[in-house]
Symmetry: none
Subunit: 223 residues, 4 copies
DNA sequence: CATGAATGAGTCTTCATTCAT
DNA sequence: CATGAATGAAGACTCATTCAT
């Protein structure tokens, strides 16, 4: 199909094929190791998991773990960032679809509880539990990730309020709202998805928590 | 009931005097060690603190630490329980004073931010950060302490609603409210008192967070 | 004998006895471990010796090694300093006895070959072989120890020359003489005591090497 | 003998040309890797240098290092032998020129300090520092190389003495002279070229050290 | 021949815990 | 009851070496 055949760096040539396959395999290994760490950190906790266990589960040698990751901490931080990225993506995706009403917040909350918490309880364990109480470096990463999330929520809030014709408010107000919402859903996630094996009624929780959140926002804006 | 029990060092024999002195000293040592652990856990983190460091700060030997506490974990759990107890006390005290209106919640929030967070940032570090991401045993304690807090809030809420003539609501509603409130203030505490050195305007945060909380509660009750 | 008995910090009291015994035992352990390291470093080389082997030979646990020494490097550096100290002592002792003639140098050389090399071949192995080619920290220590030795020789030389009525010489000359003498005996020690199992005739080597050294010094002073 | 062997790239067929080019490239690679090892061993020390670092500096893969050298030790030993060879060449070249007087020794010393030490401080680091305190195999090589050097000096000395009409001396005397001279210049090299960044006055050191050496030799021969 | 990912044995080091004094 | 030296299991991490591609 591609007339420019015959060059070795061509994506159709044999060399390129084997090269790209090796590259794919490398990525796969990286992901396998990361996935193993995710599973074990969520299951047994960060400190209770040894590199050897991760290597065993990923079916590689301990040396390989250190080929792909600087050290044990790097595994945790990478996971935290990955999960943080997914969270922000969820937030951003929902906002894009939206018509700039507070319904976006409702949708985000639903998506968070249904998809994020429902499908990935390990993510909650790592992002909201294991990331806490570790080293200074991890704590700093945690702070930064939480800050990014709060900023995202804050910005979304500011944009929507403006769109809804709500007068400009004191800057500290959106921040407090963002922080509150984050805390709200953090604890709901931990309470219902980590400490209770399986939440009976996700829809119910979603409905009510949204009601709480929107009531809180409205009341705060009234003042 | 027994008036002679009011003071522990009350006694009339020489032996008893020295015995009571020893008892006092023992208690003091216990507290000194616990205080040292509190300081260091909050400052450097649980895993970054060694028993030797705690012993040094408390000016005792490592062996003494093990006389007063079963092991390192015991120190953390004792601290968690102590702080959990203070939190519940704060909650209970405020409720006792109250006239069974939602103003109690307002007062509790103010007390939490002003007194608890303002005067004891170490407690936040230990209760909301160091208690997470440790061993299974610690996690179980954390779950139980958080449950107790949620239950306290839930009960307070139920009692007040009843008093206010608000019809009996679905049981899952008070739970969600309690969980939400806990999460709200947990993250506010961490955000403003742990990650920002000193919150500029505690009163402002208190005012607004209460507005958010009450707005949330009201909106949830409307449905 | 001492009338001031009865005080617990008295060297004759029971408490003091057990305390001093424990102190003695502690020192003994320190020395046992150091001696084990000395033996093994000299026999198998620094890098070929593991902490576990040292602990085994000293009949202690690995942890104990780390109670008495910061790390493996600390063991080597301590040994180097110890041996360096012995060497300087040998030099100083011989000079004290001396009548400020170059015969001191002769005596020192004899003492070095007879006592130092003859009785402690391990010291040569550690001071002249194992201390080289290790880490930056060790190399720095080596440099400093060698500098001290050169300075000692230099000073001795200057003092003796002055005493002997030899006119003041360019400062770089004593230095070169000191460096030369050190090199001379370093290699003689390695050649005859490390690489040849047992030197046939120590006296002969001593006699001749002294002749070489004094001839060198004299010739240098003539210019 | 075969004139067509003078140049390695001499050939008359296409295959041979490319073959000879490949041969040249191979040699070049070998040298590049060796040079990289030399630089890094001298700079950071043998143990502080990893094969990967050598490969990186030589711009080849780690695998290639193992194609050209059996193992890491082989790199060090090859360097030691190479440097030892250069040293013996310097010695031999100077002796060939000479008229069998002790002036040869003077010339050798000057050449050693000026050319060897002045132009190749890395060689001193490797030959006199890194070669020590490593494995048994390396130590054995070191012993052999030093023996060869001592033998060279010894032979030169014997030949010159004979030529100068100096009566046959006890065999152990030339050996001690050779060992002494080696030690002398070893330490001078380390002291002035390794531990002092740049010797102020190489000529001065050369002059004086020769004076010392010759004085030593003469004095020893008198007895 | 070159590559560089994979290996895994080997070691240092830490530190919670114990126990003789 | 206090002490603090001793323990030793546990684990992170390194890096020389190999080998499939």
């Amino acid at each position: 199909m591609d007339p420019s055949m015959g060059r070795s760096n061509d994506s159709n040539s044999l060399l390129s094929r084997s090269a790209s396959r090796r590259l794919r395999e490398k990525e796969q290994r990286y992901n396998t190791i990361l996935k193993a760490a995710e599973t074990l950190f969520a299951q047994k906790g960060y400190h209770q998991t040894s590199i050897e266990e991760i290597a065993d589960l990923a079916e590689v040698s301990t040396g390989s773990v250190y080929f792909y990751f600087k050290n044990k901490e790097d595994l945790l931080i990478t996971l935290m960032q990955e999960i943080g990225h997914q969270l922000r993506k969820l937030l951003g995706d929902e906002l894009k679809k939206a018509d700039f009403s507070f319904d976006s917040f409702k949708n985000i909350a639903f998506a968070f509880l249904r998809e994020f918490c429902g499908n990935h309880p390990e993510w909650i364990a790592i992002f909201f539990r294991e990331s806490a109480g570790q080293s200074l470096e991890v704590e700093e990463q945690r702070r930064q990730l939480f800050s990014k999330l709060t900023d995202d929520i804050k910005e979304a809030f500011v944009k929507i309020s403006r769109e809804q014709g709500i007068g400009p408010v004191d800057d500290s107000c959106p921040e407090l709202i963002a922080v509150s919402i984050l805390g709200l859903y953090e604890r709901i996630a931990c309470h219902y998805f980590l400490w209770q094996d399986q939440p009976k009624d996700v829809e119910d929780i979603a409905q009510r928590s949204v009601s709480f959140m929107l009531g809180g926002i409205n009341n705060l804006l009234k003042d």
